[in-house]
């Protein structure tokens, strides 16, 4: 993972093309530190990496879970991790969503469960933003069709509040109180070319309108 600063520093504000206010809440360095901390937390709470499975929720949960898996493997003294595929995978939840019929068709992404499966293991679901909790609810339903983990935990880069279901994250990169009308915009180097988390507030009437 690189140490480059992409974009403005944390806390910097700017104005987007539609007059939206954009403020950067996490830069590349903060993200790197957050993920490192989460990796150690996971290891501590799970007493090591045995019987651990990390499943990223597409789309941005997938690069995050890969980074976490590398961090964990390094921390356990296995820098190239014999087979990283054994530790992490992806869990697509499209078929379990409760909002399909009100929205344009969603294309599902691949689900890839590590070789050892999930039965009896500790599954850590990994996603970029925790918001209403519905995504995680769908992920839990998807998991139950695949097997019976010993325990399921949740790790997120950002918790922005406004839960609609009784769901909480075990590991949080940053707690971000937000207003409902705001948008949390996560960028990752693997998918967007840089690491950054921004809060986007709808335009107040100033600036250009598209």
């Amino acid at each position: 993972m690189n140490d480059d600063h992409g974009g403005p520093a944390q806390g910097a504000a700017s104005t987007g093309p539609q007059g939206h206010d954009i403020s950067r809440v996490l830069g590349a360095e903060e993200i790197r530190r957050a993920l490192t901390r989460i990796a150690h937390e996971i290891l501590e709470s799970g007493h090591g990496a045995d019987d651990l499975v990390l499943l990223g929720i597409p789309h941005r949960g997938v690069p995050l879970v890969r980074r976490l898996a590398e961090l964990i493997a390094r921390a356990e003294g296995r820098p190239d991790a014999d087979d990283p595929l054994d530790l992490h995978g992806a869990l697509d939840i499209t078929m379990y969503r409760d909002d399909l019929r009100g929205n344009p068709t969603r294309a599902p992404s691949p689900t890839r469960i590590p070789r050892g499966g999930i039965d009896g293991r500790t599954v850590v679901l990994v996603d970029d933003v925790l918001f209403s909790g519905r995504t995680v609810r769908a992920a839990l339903d998807a998991l139950s069709a695949i097997g019976r983990p010993a325990a399921v935990r949740l790790a997120v880069l950002v918790d922005r509040g406004h839960r609609e279901l009784p769901i909480r994250a075990d590991h949080v990169g940053k707690n971000l109180p937000t207003a409902r009308t705001e948008r949390v915009h996560v960028q990752l180097a693997e998918t967007d070319g840089q690491d950054a988390v921004d809060i986007v507030r709808p335009g107040t009437g100033e600036g250009e309108r598209a």
Partner: protein, 320 residues
């Protein structure tokens, strides 16, 4: 995508998207719990004017794996056989709360009519209309081809592949849909049939046409697809003097299959006439993917149902 009526209406993007979803569905079907909640609360109606247990069961399985409810209307012993019109039947189904209708008819254009006549506004899936199209069959054929001939690349198209399709092209909706879809996905198609079973006008199709099966097989195709021959139509309709003559010239015998490259797969939409268009031994041989086609059919039909129903109906309206 509002309806799934014909490959001629399908874009390459949509075809690949449905195939991608079918791959996803296939993966879910190897889990311990194969049922998905995706279409819970919806009702899919199988409206089958023609008997077809295989296709109907395939659609039923697909709908149920997605937790949809299924209602079967088949021709025998129902108001359909008493001559109720397609229009009245459709209105009845809508009144009963159908969310999607899968229709199989002996009349070319029946699915198109249901979709566009303005009687009902549910999504329509064509399970075969006369000799016109059988789009989900073509999709499952493409899915199967891709798995075998482009393994490990679930987003690949069929560029560079050569498929030979043999049989009664004139009366075959499977042939028509396959010619369209295979060429849409970049494959090269050769149709092999006796001259009387090649439609006048097929010369404008994007494929080659040959009367000589041995010559076509000698080119080393990647897949050979045998179509079912209807004995009564053939001999009774004067297209062929005897079944034996047809078999000798256009049947995939053991000897002919032996001349094929090692990687070539043999396909058949079913049901087969063992000994007529295909030798039993060939149907049972390792290069035959006929049984796998059936499983592929369920995945593909799950994918089609997903694309039509698990979506914003207004957005889907925009497309067609």
């Amino acid at each position: 995508m509002r309806h799934f009526i014909a490959i001629s209406d399908l874009s390459r993007e949509d075809a690949l998207a449905v195939l991608a979803t079918a791959e996803h569905m296939a993966e879910t079907q190897s889990r311990s719990i194969r049922k998905l909640p995706t279409l819970v609360g919806t009702t899919v109606v199988n409206l089958f004017f023609e008997d077809s247990t295989r296709t109907r069961i395939s659609f039923e399985a697909a709908a149920k794996r997605l937790s949809a409810d299924v209602i079967n209307f088949s021709a025998k012993g129902s108001s359909l056989s008493k001559g109720e019109s397609l229009k009245d039947t459709a209105l009845t189904l809508q009144a009963m709360g159908a969310d999607a209708v899968v229709v199989r008819s002996g009349s070319s254009g029946a699915a198109h009519l249901l979709a566009h006549a303005g009687w009902i506004d549910q999504p329509i899936i064509n399970a075969g209309d006369g000799a016109h199209e059988h789009p989900t069959q073509a999709m499952l054929d493409a899915f199967t081809l891709r798995r075998h001939l482009r393994p490990g690349d679930p987003s690949a198209d069929l560029e560079g592949l050569h498929v030979v399709i043999v049989g009664d092209i004139l009366h075959s909706r499977v042939a028509r849909s396959n010619v369209l879809l295979l060429t849409l996905l970049g494959a090269r198609v050769t149709l092999v049939a006796p001259p009387a079973l090649v439609p006048v006008g097929a010369s404008s199709w994007p494929c080659e046409i040959s009367y000589d099966l041995d010559a076509a097989l000698a080119t080393g195709p990647d897949a050979v697809m045998m179509l079912r021959v209807q004995h009564e139509r053939m001999v009774g309709g004067g297209f062929f003097p005897t079944a034996g003559e047809y078999s000798r010239r256009y049947g995939l015998s053991t000897a002919r299959a032996a001349t094929l490259p090692a990687h070539t797969i043999v396909m058949h939409p079913g049901p087969m006439n063992r000994g007529l268009e295909i030798a039993g031994a060939v149907a049972d041989s390792p290069r035959s993917v006929i049984v796998e086609q059936v499983a592929s059919g369920v995945f593909v039909r799950m994918a089609v149902l997903y694309h039509l129903l698990a979506t914003d109906a207004r957005e889907a309206h925009r497309d067609r």
